[in-house]
């Protein structure tokens, strides 16, 4: 949080009001979680402390906290706006959604569209979403699984030298190098193609160099960023909870605050293109409660 807590609060109030609205338009319900949880291995991040000879965690990672509180998996669409601590006393404010138990592909498409429409409703149009896949990498390292840890380290640091030093054949290294630098609109992995196609937004790319180093992700992962600031706006991915697949993401509210120009009025969705198509889209958006402006 900023030094001037109150003026920053005004901005965050506007941002979170808009996010809540978009999340609810997509059918997510807000979840209220306790500030303090009893310590468990399942909880990530948070700040640990001891009280009456018991261990507790303050403000852990929200995805892990939701899962720790969910006894049995069922279809759930949740959102949260909360501070997350990471070992210290100052945290990061996040807003995110979790879609648990939905249909494969549909779930990913819907969450990506939630991200896009949330940003647009805030008047933030200058952003990109890079979508990657852990399964593609797992397939690529079949037969050389013993080097998995090194290869993933190379990926998260984007350091190909680590892979070059491994005792694997040149052909394989070349294949990994190609994946390392792959960026485009379609690839050999049908699942990603379907997702990208259904989302249908020119700002969404397939990028296999996109790796989010979180232990629970199982396949599709993504990162949202803007050329205007050097930190990601947020990101998310697919995970499995007790055999049920789920997909979630979180925004970094501090990053959104840097891009938000403070005027929700400006967040009118500008639509261009052929008359019939443009108005068809405008009509759909208005139905959803999104202000529109059909341009020339």
């Amino acid at each position: 949080m900023k030094k001037d807590l109150f003026s920053e609060s005004e901005r965050l109030a506007d941002i979170t009001k808009s996010l809540r609205r978009t999340f609810e338009l997509w059918g997510y319900r807000e979840v209220f979680l306790p500030t303090i949880e009893e310590f468990s291995e399942q909880l990530r991040k948070g700040t640990k402390f001891a009280y009456n000879n018991e261990f507790y965690v303050i403000k852990p990672d929200l995805t892990s906290q939701i899962l720790a509180n969910l006894k049995e998996p069922r279809k759930l669409k949740l959102y949260y706006i909360s501070e997350v601590l990471n070992g210290g006393i100052r945290g990061e404010w996040q807003a995110g959604v979790e879609f648990i138990g939905g249909e494969d592909i549909k779930m990913q498409v819907e969450v990506l569209l939630t991200v896009i429409t949330s940003l647009e409703a805030l008047g933030i149009e200058d952003f990109y979403i890079d979508v990657g896949s852990l399964k593609v990498w797992e397939r690529a390292i079949e037969g050389i699984e013993e080097f998995k840890a090194e290869i993933f380290k190379a990926l998260t640091r984007r350091n190909f030298e680590i892979i070059e030093r491994l005792p694997i054949n040149e052909e394989k290294k070349e294949e990994l190098w190609q994946l390392f630098n792959f960026r485009g609109k379609s690839c050999e992995y049908e699942k990603l193609n379907k997702i990208i196609d259904a989302v249908g937004d020119e700002r969404v790319f397939i990028d296999f160099g996109t790796i989010r180093p979180l232990p629970y992700y199982s396949d599709v992962i993504f990162e949202v960023y803007s050329p205007k600031i050097g930190k990601p706006l947020g990101g998310g991915g697919e995970y499995t909870f007790k055999g049920v697949s789920a997909f979630g993401f979180a925004f970094d509210l501090n990053a959104l605050s840097k891009l938000f120009d403070g005027k929700i009025e400006k967040s009118r969705k500008k639509i261009r293109g052929e008359l019939k198509e443009a108005y068809k889209l405008a009509r759909e958006l208005v139905k959803l409660g999104i202000p529109v402006e059909v341009g020339e």
Partner: protein, 205 residues
């Protein structure tokens, strides 16, 4: 493209390797901390802050692996560079030297509290870590710490202060750092830079 380089022991080597890769950055003539060089901009920062600048939006930086690990910055590290080689070590006064396992309850002075804490945690030894900003060797001499965790290049400073190296914690080298978002938004430019520096490193080895 914006570069942030560390003032101090890595500065010369950093300018040199970038020059060989075709990027001429002129060091500032006065006390300026930011200089424009045509398409490039050079920022000078404290070594400890370089990874933080890169994490928060400067495109490219050079910093020691000690600092990058200590700061736990979320940056990309595409290359290890062939200079700034040294090690991070645990040292203590010669006359009281004991092994790590015997250091329970010791007070450790260091510029690297995170790395020091992690090292002792891994070994299951409980110590108290105090952070200092420089002249670490002084701490055990005047009795405010039992041992230190610090950078060792030749070992001369340690010897001059009556300290011996008990254990090496990590090897240190200069690293090329890239901002995660710049890697995406300036994909071609950054990949070219990394490949050029890689060629320079290869030619030199």
């Amino acid at each position: 493209m914006r570069f942030v380089l560390p003032k101090g022991r890595l500065f010369k080597g950093s300018l040199e390797i970038l020059r060989k890769a075709g990027i001429e950055l002129k060091p500032p003539e006065n006390r300026e901390l930011m200089v424009k060089n045509g398409r490039y901009e050079l920022l000078l920062a404290r070594a400890f802050d370089v990874p933080v600048y890169v994490e928060y939006g400067i495109d490219v930086g050079i910093a020691g692996s000690d600092v990058v690990e200590e700061r736990e910055s979320d940056v990309l590290v595409p290359l290890e560079l062939p200079f700034g080689k040294c090690r991070l070590s645990l040292a203590m006064p010669k006359e009281n030297a004991v092994s790590v396992e015997e250091m329970d309850g010791f007070r450790i002075a260091t510029k690297y509290p995170n790395l020091a804490k992690k090292f002792f945690e891994r070994r299951g030894v409980e110590v108290e870590v105090i952070k200092l900003h420089g002249s670490i060797e002084l701490a055990p001499k005047i009795g405010i710490a039992d041992a230190i965790v610090d950078i060792v290049e030749t070992g001369n400073t340690l010897r001059a202060n009556g300290l011996v190296e008990v254990e090496k914690i990590m090897d240190v080298s200069a690293l090329l750092l890239v901002n995660r978002i710049s890697q995406k938004t300036k994909f071609k430019e950054i990949n070219e830079l990394v490949l050029k520096i890689k060629e320079v490193v290869k030619d030199e080895s």
